[in-house]
Amino acid sequence: MEKGTWVVKKGFAEMFKNGVIMDVTTAEQAKIAEEAGAVAVMALERVPADIRKAGGVARMASISKIKEIMEAVSIPVMAKVRIGHIAEARILEALGVDFIDESEVLTPADNKYHLNKHEYKVPFVCGARNLGEALRRIAEGAAMIRTKGEAGTGNVVEAVKHMRQVMDEVRMVQNMPEEELVTFAKQIGAPVDLVAEVKKLGRLPVVNFAAGGVATPADAALMMLLGADGVFVGSGIFKSKDPKKMAKAIVEAVLHYDDPEKLAKISEDIGSPMEGLEIEELDVHLQERGW
Protein backbone atom coordinates (compact mmCIF):
# COMPACT_ATOMS: atom_id res chain seq x y z
CA MET A 1 0.00 0.00 0.00
CA GLU A 2 1.65 3.22 -1.18
CA LYS A 3 0.17 6.45 0.16
CA GLY A 4 0.62 10.00 -1.09
CA THR A 5 2.17 8.98 -4.43
CA TRP A 6 2.16 11.26 -7.48
CA VAL A 7 -0.54 9.08 -9.08
CA VAL A 8 -2.77 9.35 -6.00
CA LYS A 9 -2.28 13.13 -5.74
CA LYS A 10 -2.72 13.89 -9.42
CA GLY A 11 -5.55 11.33 -9.67
CA PHE A 12 -7.48 13.01 -6.87
CA ALA A 13 -7.39 16.30 -8.78
CA GLU A 14 -8.82 14.50 -11.83
CA MET A 15 -11.92 13.72 -9.74
CA PHE A 16 -12.72 17.44 -9.44
CA LYS A 17 -13.02 17.88 -13.19
CA ASN A 18 -16.15 19.60 -14.53
CA GLY A 19 -16.81 20.70 -10.99
CA VAL A 20 -16.98 23.86 -8.91
CA ILE A 21 -14.85 24.48 -5.81
CA MET A 22 -16.30 27.12 -3.51
CA ASP A 23 -14.73 29.40 -0.89
CA VAL A 24 -16.52 29.13 2.46
CA THR A 25 -15.92 30.78 5.83
CA THR A 26 -18.38 28.95 8.10
CA ALA A 27 -19.85 25.46 8.56
CA GLU A 28 -23.18 26.82 7.41
CA GLN A 29 -21.72 28.13 4.14
CA ALA A 30 -19.91 24.82 3.62
CA LYS A 31 -23.26 23.01 3.87
CA ILE A 32 -24.82 25.39 1.36
CA ALA A 33 -21.94 24.68 -1.02
CA GLU A 34 -22.28 20.90 -0.59
CA GLU A 35 -26.03 21.08 -1.04
CA ALA A 36 -25.56 23.09 -4.25
CA GLY A 37 -23.29 20.38 -5.69
CA ALA A 38 -19.78 21.77 -5.10
CA VAL A 39 -17.06 19.11 -5.60
CA ALA A 40 -15.01 20.60 -2.74
CA VAL A 41 -14.87 23.63 -0.48
CA MET A 42 -12.00 25.97 0.37
CA ALA A 43 -12.00 26.72 4.09
CA LEU A 44 -11.09 30.36 4.73
CA GLU A 45 -11.14 32.93 7.51
CA ARG A 46 -12.32 35.55 5.00
CA VAL A 47 -13.22 35.44 1.28
CA PRO A 48 -10.72 37.23 -1.01
CA ALA A 49 -12.95 40.33 -1.40
CA ASP A 50 -12.80 40.83 2.38
CA ILE A 51 -9.06 40.05 2.53
CA ARG A 52 -8.60 42.78 -0.07
CA LYS A 53 -10.71 45.22 1.94
CA ALA A 54 -9.07 44.43 5.28
CA GLY A 55 -5.48 44.79 4.05
CA GLY A 56 -2.66 43.80 6.41
CA VAL A 57 -1.10 40.33 6.48
CA ALA A 58 -3.37 37.45 5.42
CA ARG A 59 -2.37 34.08 6.92
CA MET A 60 -3.57 30.46 7.02
CA ALA A 61 -7.09 30.21 8.50
CA SER A 62 -7.43 29.33 12.18
CA ILE A 63 -7.38 25.64 13.03
CA SER A 64 -10.79 25.78 14.70
CA LYS A 65 -12.27 27.33 11.56
CA ILE A 66 -10.84 24.62 9.32
CA LYS A 67 -11.92 21.85 11.71
CA GLU A 68 -15.43 23.28 11.93
CA ILE A 69 -15.72 23.12 8.15
CA MET A 70 -14.15 19.64 7.88
CA GLU A 71 -16.71 18.32 10.33
CA ALA A 72 -19.63 19.98 8.57
CA VAL A 73 -19.36 18.36 5.13
CA SER A 74 -18.64 15.01 3.47
CA ILE A 75 -17.00 16.52 0.37
CA PRO A 76 -13.24 17.28 0.27
CA VAL A 77 -11.98 20.30 2.17
CA MET A 78 -9.13 22.48 0.89
CA ALA A 79 -7.31 25.24 2.76
CA LYS A 80 -4.77 27.89 1.83
CA VAL A 81 -1.20 28.41 3.04
CA ARG A 82 1.10 31.35 2.37
CA ILE A 83 3.57 30.87 -0.48
CA GLY A 84 6.64 29.07 0.87
CA HIS A 85 5.29 28.60 4.41
CA ILE A 86 6.60 25.13 5.21
CA ALA A 87 5.18 25.07 8.73
CA GLU A 88 1.65 26.15 7.78
CA ALA A 89 1.67 23.43 5.12
CA ARG A 90 2.82 20.75 7.58
CA ILE A 91 0.13 21.85 10.04
CA LEU A 92 -2.63 21.54 7.45
CA GLU A 93 -1.30 18.16 6.36
CA ALA A 94 -1.32 16.96 9.99
CA LEU A 95 -4.87 18.25 10.32
CA GLY A 96 -5.93 15.97 7.44
CA VAL A 97 -6.99 18.69 5.01
CA ASP A 98 -7.62 17.01 1.62
CA PHE A 99 -5.87 19.57 -0.61
CA ILE A 100 -3.64 22.60 0.09
CA ASP A 101 -3.70 25.77 -1.99
CA GLU A 102 -0.30 27.48 -1.86
CA SER A 103 -1.95 30.76 -2.63
CA GLU A 104 -1.10 34.29 -3.70
CA VAL A 105 -4.34 35.41 -2.05
CA LEU A 106 -2.52 35.17 1.30
CA THR A 107 0.55 37.28 2.03
CA PRO A 108 3.65 35.36 0.87
CA ALA A 109 5.93 34.00 3.60
CA ASP A 110 8.85 33.59 1.22
CA ASN A 111 9.53 36.08 -1.56
CA LYS A 112 11.90 33.78 -3.45
CA TYR A 113 10.87 30.15 -3.11
CA HIS A 114 7.71 28.09 -3.20
CA LEU A 115 7.19 24.88 -1.21
CA ASN A 116 8.77 21.62 -2.32
CA LYS A 117 5.39 20.00 -2.71
CA HIS A 118 6.84 16.58 -3.61
CA GLU A 119 7.72 16.09 0.06
CA TYR A 120 4.13 15.99 1.25
CA LYS A 121 1.49 13.25 1.20
CA VAL A 122 -1.24 15.85 0.78
CA PRO A 123 -1.69 17.22 -2.77
CA PHE A 124 -1.24 20.90 -3.64
CA VAL A 125 -2.86 23.33 -6.07
CA CYS A 126 -1.03 26.51 -7.15
CA GLY A 127 -1.88 29.59 -9.17
CA ALA A 128 -0.32 30.44 -12.54
CA ARG A 129 -0.64 33.17 -15.16
CA ASN A 130 1.21 31.47 -17.98
CA LEU A 131 2.71 28.15 -19.03
CA GLY A 132 6.12 28.83 -17.48
CA GLU A 133 4.65 29.57 -14.07
CA ALA A 134 2.35 26.54 -14.28
CA LEU A 135 5.22 24.19 -15.18
CA ARG A 136 7.49 25.62 -12.44
CA ARG A 137 4.76 24.84 -9.90
CA ILE A 138 4.29 21.33 -11.33
CA ALA A 139 8.08 20.84 -11.16
CA GLU A 140 7.85 21.69 -7.45
CA GLY A 141 5.13 19.03 -7.08
CA ALA A 142 1.79 20.80 -7.59
CA ALA A 143 -0.84 18.17 -8.52
CA MET A 144 -3.26 20.76 -9.82
CA ILE A 145 -3.05 24.25 -11.34
CA ARG A 146 -5.51 27.09 -11.29
CA THR A 147 -5.07 30.14 -13.43
CA LYS A 148 -4.82 33.11 -11.07
CA GLY A 149 -7.12 35.78 -12.38
CA GLU A 150 -7.47 38.58 -9.85
CA ALA A 151 -9.11 37.23 -6.71
CA GLY A 152 -11.79 39.15 -4.85
CA THR A 153 -12.69 41.49 -7.72
CA GLY A 154 -15.71 39.80 -9.30
CA ASN A 155 -14.07 40.88 -12.55
CA VAL A 156 -13.39 37.97 -14.89
CA VAL A 157 -11.02 39.80 -17.25
CA GLU A 158 -7.78 38.60 -15.63
CA ALA A 159 -9.03 35.01 -15.34
CA VAL A 160 -9.71 35.11 -19.08
CA LYS A 161 -6.30 36.63 -19.82
CA HIS A 162 -4.46 33.94 -17.86
CA MET A 163 -6.48 31.02 -19.23
CA ARG A 164 -5.99 32.27 -22.80
CA GLN A 165 -2.28 32.75 -22.16
CA VAL A 166 -1.82 29.18 -20.85
CA MET A 167 -3.93 27.66 -23.62
CA ASP A 168 -2.17 29.68 -26.34
CA GLU A 169 1.22 28.54 -25.10
CA VAL A 170 0.04 24.91 -24.92
CA ARG A 171 -1.16 25.11 -28.54
CA MET A 172 2.14 26.72 -29.53
CA VAL A 173 4.18 23.93 -27.89
CA GLN A 174 1.97 21.32 -29.54
CA ASN A 175 2.96 22.60 -32.97
CA MET A 176 6.59 23.30 -32.12
CA PRO A 177 9.33 21.23 -33.78
CA GLU A 178 11.40 19.18 -31.29
CA GLU A 179 14.56 21.24 -31.82
CA GLU A 180 12.87 24.38 -30.48
CA LEU A 181 11.77 22.88 -27.15
CA VAL A 182 14.95 23.53 -25.15
CA THR A 183 15.20 27.20 -26.10
CA PHE A 184 11.49 27.69 -25.50
CA ALA A 185 11.78 26.02 -22.07
CA LYS A 186 14.63 28.39 -21.26
CA GLN A 187 12.58 31.41 -22.35
CA ILE A 188 9.57 30.56 -20.18
CA GLY A 189 11.68 29.32 -17.25
CA ALA A 190 10.28 25.80 -17.21
CA PRO A 191 11.91 22.34 -17.12
CA VAL A 192 12.28 20.96 -20.64
CA ASP A 193 10.89 17.52 -19.73
CA LEU A 194 7.60 19.12 -18.68
CA VAL A 195 7.50 21.20 -21.87
CA ALA A 196 7.99 17.95 -23.81
CA GLU A 197 5.14 16.36 -21.85
CA VAL A 198 2.83 19.27 -22.73
CA LYS A 199 3.73 18.73 -26.38
CA LYS A 200 2.92 15.04 -26.13
CA LEU A 201 -0.37 15.47 -24.22
CA GLY A 202 -1.59 18.68 -25.88
CA ARG A 203 -2.51 19.98 -22.42
CA LEU A 204 -0.98 20.59 -19.00
CA PRO A 205 0.17 17.38 -17.28
CA VAL A 206 -2.23 18.09 -14.40
CA VAL A 207 -5.79 19.36 -14.05
CA ASN A 208 -6.19 23.10 -14.76
CA PHE A 209 -9.02 25.05 -13.14
CA ALA A 210 -9.96 28.71 -13.64
CA ALA A 211 -10.03 31.13 -10.70
CA GLY A 212 -9.98 34.76 -9.67
CA GLY A 213 -13.00 36.83 -10.69
CA VAL A 214 -15.76 34.34 -11.56
CA ALA A 215 -19.01 35.94 -10.36
CA THR A 216 -21.87 34.62 -12.50
CA PRO A 217 -22.99 31.37 -14.18
CA ALA A 218 -22.04 32.99 -17.50
CA ASP A 219 -18.51 33.71 -16.18
CA ALA A 220 -18.16 30.05 -15.18
CA ALA A 221 -19.39 28.90 -18.59
CA LEU A 222 -16.95 31.29 -20.27
CA MET A 223 -14.00 29.78 -18.43
CA MET A 224 -15.13 26.26 -19.44
CA LEU A 225 -15.45 27.41 -23.07
CA LEU A 226 -11.85 28.64 -22.89
CA GLY A 227 -10.71 25.18 -21.84
CA ALA A 228 -10.77 25.14 -18.02
CA ASP A 229 -11.24 21.71 -16.42
CA GLY A 230 -13.42 23.28 -13.74
CA VAL A 231 -13.87 26.48 -11.77
CA PHE A 232 -12.97 27.95 -8.38
CA VAL A 233 -15.47 30.51 -7.14
CA GLY A 234 -14.21 32.64 -4.28
CA SER A 235 -16.15 35.70 -3.26
CA GLY A 236 -18.64 35.21 -6.12
CA ILE A 237 -21.03 33.05 -4.16
CA PHE A 238 -21.22 34.35 -0.63
CA LYS A 239 -20.90 38.00 -1.71
CA SER A 240 -23.90 37.63 -4.03
CA LYS A 241 -27.44 38.49 -3.01
CA ASP A 242 -28.74 34.92 -2.92
CA PRO A 243 -25.80 32.52 -2.33
CA LYS A 244 -27.92 29.34 -2.45
CA LYS A 245 -29.31 30.13 -5.88
CA MET A 246 -26.01 31.48 -7.18
CA ALA A 247 -24.11 28.37 -6.02
CA LYS A 248 -26.56 25.98 -7.69
CA ALA A 249 -26.65 28.04 -10.87
CA ILE A 250 -22.86 28.09 -11.20
CA VAL A 251 -22.66 24.30 -10.71
CA GLU A 252 -25.24 23.79 -13.47
CA ALA A 253 -23.55 26.31 -15.74
CA VAL A 254 -20.31 24.30 -15.58
CA LEU A 255 -22.24 21.21 -16.75
CA HIS A 256 -24.13 22.99 -19.54
CA TYR A 257 -21.43 25.50 -20.52
CA ASP A 258 -21.90 24.80 -24.23
CA ASP A 259 -25.70 24.94 -24.27
CA PRO A 260 -26.84 28.61 -24.45
CA GLU A 261 -30.54 27.81 -24.04
CA LYS A 262 -29.91 25.94 -20.81
CA LEU A 263 -27.56 28.71 -19.66
CA ALA A 264 -30.29 31.28 -20.21
CA LYS A 265 -32.63 29.28 -18.00
CA ILE A 266 -29.93 28.73 -15.37
CA SER A 267 -29.11 32.46 -15.27
CA GLU A 268 -32.71 33.52 -14.67
CA ASP A 269 -33.94 34.68 -11.27
CA ILE A 270 -30.73 34.10 -9.29
CA GLY A 271 -30.44 37.51 -7.62
CA SER A 272 -27.68 40.02 -8.24
CA PRO A 273 -24.05 38.91 -8.35
CA MET A 274 -21.29 40.43 -6.17
CA GLU A 275 -20.20 43.95 -7.02
CA GLY A 276 -17.15 44.11 -9.24
CA LEU A 277 -13.93 46.12 -9.17
CA GLU A 278 -11.96 47.69 -12.02
CA ILE A 279 -8.49 46.13 -12.29
CA GLU A 280 -6.85 49.53 -13.00
CA GLU A 281 -8.16 50.94 -9.74
CA LEU A 282 -6.75 48.21 -7.49
CA ASP A 283 -4.02 48.99 -4.96
CA VAL A 284 -2.83 45.41 -4.76
CA HIS A 285 -2.52 42.94 -7.63
CA LEU A 286 -2.55 39.54 -5.92
CA GLN A 287 -1.61 37.83 -9.20
CA GLU A 288 1.89 39.32 -9.07
CA ARG A 289 2.76 37.17 -6.06
CA GLY A 290 4.53 33.93 -7.07
CA TRP A 291 7.98 33.34 -8.51
Partner: protein, 193 residues
Protein backbone atom coordinates in the same frame (compact mmCIF):
# COMPACT_ATOMS: atom_id res chain seq x y z
CA UNK B 1 -16.80 -2.31 -31.78
CA UNK B 2 -19.31 -1.28 -29.11
CA UNK B 3 -20.48 2.19 -28.11
CA UNK B 4 -19.79 2.55 -24.41
CA UNK B 5 -21.18 5.55 -22.57
CA UNK B 6 -19.28 7.49 -19.93
CA UNK B 7 -21.58 9.55 -17.74
CA UNK B 8 -20.30 13.08 -18.35
CA UNK B 9 -21.86 15.23 -15.64
CA UNK B 10 -18.78 15.48 -13.39
CA UNK B 11 -15.58 13.57 -12.63
CA UNK B 12 -12.72 11.86 -14.45
CA UNK B 13 -14.62 11.27 -17.68
CA UNK B 14 -11.56 11.52 -19.96
CA UNK B 15 -9.65 8.73 -18.18
CA UNK B 16 -12.52 6.25 -18.64
CA UNK B 17 -12.99 7.30 -22.26
CA UNK B 18 -9.26 6.69 -22.88
CA UNK B 19 -9.54 3.18 -21.43
CA UNK B 20 -12.50 2.35 -23.68
CA UNK B 21 -10.53 3.54 -26.70
CA UNK B 22 -7.52 1.55 -25.58
CA UNK B 23 -9.50 -1.71 -25.68
CA UNK B 24 -10.83 -0.93 -29.15
CA UNK B 25 -14.33 0.35 -28.45
CA UNK B 26 -15.99 3.73 -28.92
CA UNK B 27 -16.50 5.96 -25.87
CA UNK B 28 -19.52 8.30 -25.90
CA UNK B 29 -19.96 11.11 -23.37
CA UNK B 30 -23.45 10.92 -21.94
CA UNK B 31 -25.17 13.91 -20.39
CA UNK B 32 -28.67 13.55 -21.80
CA UNK B 33 -31.30 10.80 -22.11
CA UNK B 34 -30.97 10.92 -25.92
CA UNK B 35 -27.27 10.00 -25.84
CA UNK B 36 -27.90 7.42 -23.12
CA UNK B 37 -30.20 5.62 -25.53
CA UNK B 38 -27.43 5.37 -28.13
CA UNK B 39 -24.98 3.36 -26.00
CA UNK B 40 -24.71 -0.33 -25.09
CA UNK B 41 -23.57 0.22 -21.51
CA UNK B 42 -22.62 3.05 -19.17
CA UNK B 43 -19.68 3.84 -16.90
CA UNK B 44 -20.33 6.13 -13.94
CA UNK B 45 -16.88 7.64 -13.26
CA UNK B 46 -15.08 8.81 -10.14
CA UNK B 47 -15.86 12.30 -8.91
CA UNK B 48 -18.01 13.63 -6.08
CA UNK B 49 -21.00 11.35 -5.53
CA UNK B 50 -23.10 14.19 -4.10
CA UNK B 51 -22.48 16.36 -7.18
CA UNK B 52 -22.99 13.50 -9.65
CA UNK B 53 -26.30 12.46 -8.05
CA UNK B 54 -27.69 16.00 -8.02
CA UNK B 55 -26.80 16.61 -11.66
CA UNK B 56 -28.18 13.21 -12.72
CA UNK B 57 -31.52 14.13 -11.18
CA UNK B 58 -31.47 17.55 -12.79
CA UNK B 59 -30.88 16.05 -16.25
CA UNK B 60 -33.47 13.27 -15.88
CA UNK B 61 -30.76 10.61 -16.16
CA UNK B 62 -31.45 9.36 -12.63
CA UNK B 63 -34.93 7.96 -13.31
CA UNK B 64 -34.08 6.86 -16.84
CA UNK B 65 -31.06 4.88 -15.65
CA UNK B 66 -33.09 3.20 -12.93
CA UNK B 67 -35.60 2.09 -15.53
CA UNK B 68 -32.98 0.88 -18.01
CA UNK B 69 -30.98 -1.00 -15.35
CA UNK B 70 -34.04 -3.01 -14.38
CA UNK B 71 -34.27 -4.13 -18.00
CA UNK B 72 -30.71 -5.43 -18.00
CA UNK B 73 -28.76 -2.37 -19.23
CA UNK B 74 -25.09 -2.79 -18.14
CA UNK B 75 -23.65 -0.19 -15.75
CA UNK B 76 -20.17 0.04 -14.21
CA UNK B 77 -19.69 2.39 -11.25
CA UNK B 78 -16.20 3.28 -10.01
CA UNK B 79 -15.60 4.98 -6.63
CA UNK B 80 -18.25 7.76 -6.64
CA UNK B 81 -20.01 5.69 -9.32
CA UNK B 82 -20.15 2.71 -6.95
CA UNK B 83 -21.78 4.90 -4.29
CA UNK B 84 -24.35 6.06 -6.82
CA UNK B 85 -25.38 2.50 -7.89
CA UNK B 86 -25.39 1.06 -4.34
CA UNK B 87 -28.48 0.42 -2.18
CA UNK B 88 -27.44 2.91 0.46
CA UNK B 89 -24.69 4.73 2.35
CA UNK B 90 -24.28 3.64 5.97
CA UNK B 91 -22.59 6.81 7.21
CA UNK B 92 -24.70 9.22 5.10
CA UNK B 93 -28.15 7.54 5.03
CA UNK B 94 -29.83 10.77 3.90
CA UNK B 95 -27.93 10.72 0.57
CA UNK B 96 -30.12 9.04 -2.06
CA UNK B 97 -28.69 6.25 -4.26
CA UNK B 98 -29.96 4.35 -7.32
CA UNK B 99 -30.14 0.97 -5.53
CA UNK B 100 -29.15 -1.08 -8.58
CA UNK B 101 -26.83 -3.57 -6.83
CA UNK B 102 -27.34 -5.22 -3.45
CA UNK B 103 -24.46 -3.54 -1.60
CA UNK B 104 -24.29 -0.99 1.19
CA UNK B 105 -21.27 1.27 1.33
CA UNK B 106 -19.48 3.62 3.68
CA UNK B 107 -18.16 6.84 2.14
CA UNK B 108 -14.50 7.85 2.64
CA UNK B 109 -14.09 4.64 4.65
CA UNK B 110 -10.36 4.38 4.03
CA UNK B 111 -9.83 7.94 5.35
CA UNK B 112 -9.30 11.42 3.97
CA UNK B 113 -6.97 12.20 1.04
CA UNK B 114 -3.67 11.76 2.95
CA UNK B 115 -4.66 8.09 3.37
CA UNK B 116 -5.43 7.51 -0.32
CA UNK B 117 -3.20 4.81 -1.81
CA UNK B 118 -2.06 2.71 -4.76
CA UNK B 119 -2.29 -1.07 -4.47
CA UNK B 120 -1.59 -4.14 -6.58
CA UNK B 121 -4.60 -6.48 -6.67
CA UNK B 122 -5.16 -9.92 -8.23
CA UNK B 123 -7.81 -9.96 -10.93
CA UNK B 124 -8.39 -13.08 -13.03
CA UNK B 125 -4.97 -14.50 -12.04
CA UNK B 126 -3.25 -11.29 -13.05
CA UNK B 127 -1.69 -8.46 -11.00
CA UNK B 128 -3.29 -5.08 -11.66
CA UNK B 129 -2.26 -1.77 -10.11
CA UNK B 130 -5.18 0.39 -9.01
CA UNK B 131 -5.81 3.55 -6.96
CA UNK B 132 -8.05 4.09 -3.95
CA UNK B 133 -8.89 7.81 -3.58
CA UNK B 134 -11.01 8.78 -0.56
CA UNK B 135 -12.54 5.45 -1.46
CA UNK B 136 -15.88 4.01 -0.41
CA UNK B 137 -15.96 0.56 1.20
CA UNK B 138 -18.55 -2.17 0.77
CA UNK B 139 -19.75 -2.96 4.28
CA UNK B 140 -22.74 -5.18 3.52
CA UNK B 141 -23.72 -7.25 0.46
CA UNK B 142 -26.43 -9.67 -0.59
CA UNK B 143 -25.87 -13.35 -1.43
CA UNK B 144 -26.31 -12.82 -5.16
CA UNK B 145 -23.38 -10.41 -5.26
CA UNK B 146 -20.32 -11.95 -6.87
CA UNK B 147 -17.01 -10.90 -5.27
CA UNK B 148 -14.50 -10.48 -8.10
CA UNK B 149 -11.68 -8.89 -6.06
CA UNK B 150 -11.23 -8.73 -2.31
CA UNK B 151 -8.83 -6.48 -0.42
CA UNK B 152 -8.27 -6.94 3.32
CA UNK B 153 -11.69 -7.33 4.95
CA UNK B 154 -13.93 -6.20 2.08
CA UNK B 155 -14.80 -6.97 -1.52
CA UNK B 156 -13.64 -4.11 -3.76
CA UNK B 157 -14.90 -5.28 -7.17
CA UNK B 158 -18.39 -6.80 -7.25
CA UNK B 159 -20.98 -7.83 -9.78
CA UNK B 160 -24.65 -8.58 -9.67
CA UNK B 161 -26.03 -9.50 -13.10
CA UNK B 162 -25.69 -6.39 -15.31
CA UNK B 163 -24.17 -4.14 -12.64
CA UNK B 164 -20.43 -3.92 -11.87
CA UNK B 165 -19.01 -1.78 -9.07
CA UNK B 166 -15.48 -0.95 -7.86
CA UNK B 167 -14.26 0.85 -4.72
CA UNK B 168 -11.11 1.80 -6.59
CA UNK B 169 -10.17 3.59 -9.81
CA UNK B 170 -9.18 1.15 -12.57
CA UNK B 171 -8.94 4.09 -15.01
CA UNK B 172 -6.08 6.07 -13.46
CA UNK B 173 -3.22 3.66 -14.19
CA UNK B 174 -2.51 1.77 -17.41
CA UNK B 175 -4.15 -1.63 -17.00
CA UNK B 176 -7.48 -1.94 -18.89
CA UNK B 177 -8.39 -5.44 -17.50
CA UNK B 178 -11.42 -4.30 -15.50
CA UNK B 179 -12.80 -2.22 -18.39
CA UNK B 180 -12.23 -5.20 -20.66
CA UNK B 181 -14.19 -7.40 -18.26
CA UNK B 182 -17.06 -4.90 -18.20
CA UNK B 183 -17.25 -4.53 -21.97
CA UNK B 184 -16.50 -8.09 -23.06
CA UNK B 185 -18.15 -10.09 -20.28
CA UNK B 186 -21.09 -7.91 -19.32
CA UNK B 187 -21.92 -5.52 -22.20
CA UNK B 188 -21.17 -7.86 -25.12
CA UNK B 189 -23.19 -10.70 -23.57
CA UNK B 190 -26.04 -8.66 -22.19
CA UNK B 191 -29.64 -9.70 -22.64
CA UNK B 192 -31.79 -6.63 -22.53
CA UNK B 193 -35.42 -7.37 -21.81
Amino acid sequence: MLKIGVLAVQGDIREHANMIEKIGHTPVKVKSIETLNEVEGLIIPGGESTTISKLMKKTGLWEELKRKAQNGFPIFGTCAGMIVVSKGIKNYPQQETLGLIDIYVERNAYGRQVFSFEEVLKFQEKDIKVTFIRAPKIVEYGENVEKLIEFKDAPVLVRENNILAASFHPEIEDDPSVHQYFVETIVAKKQVK
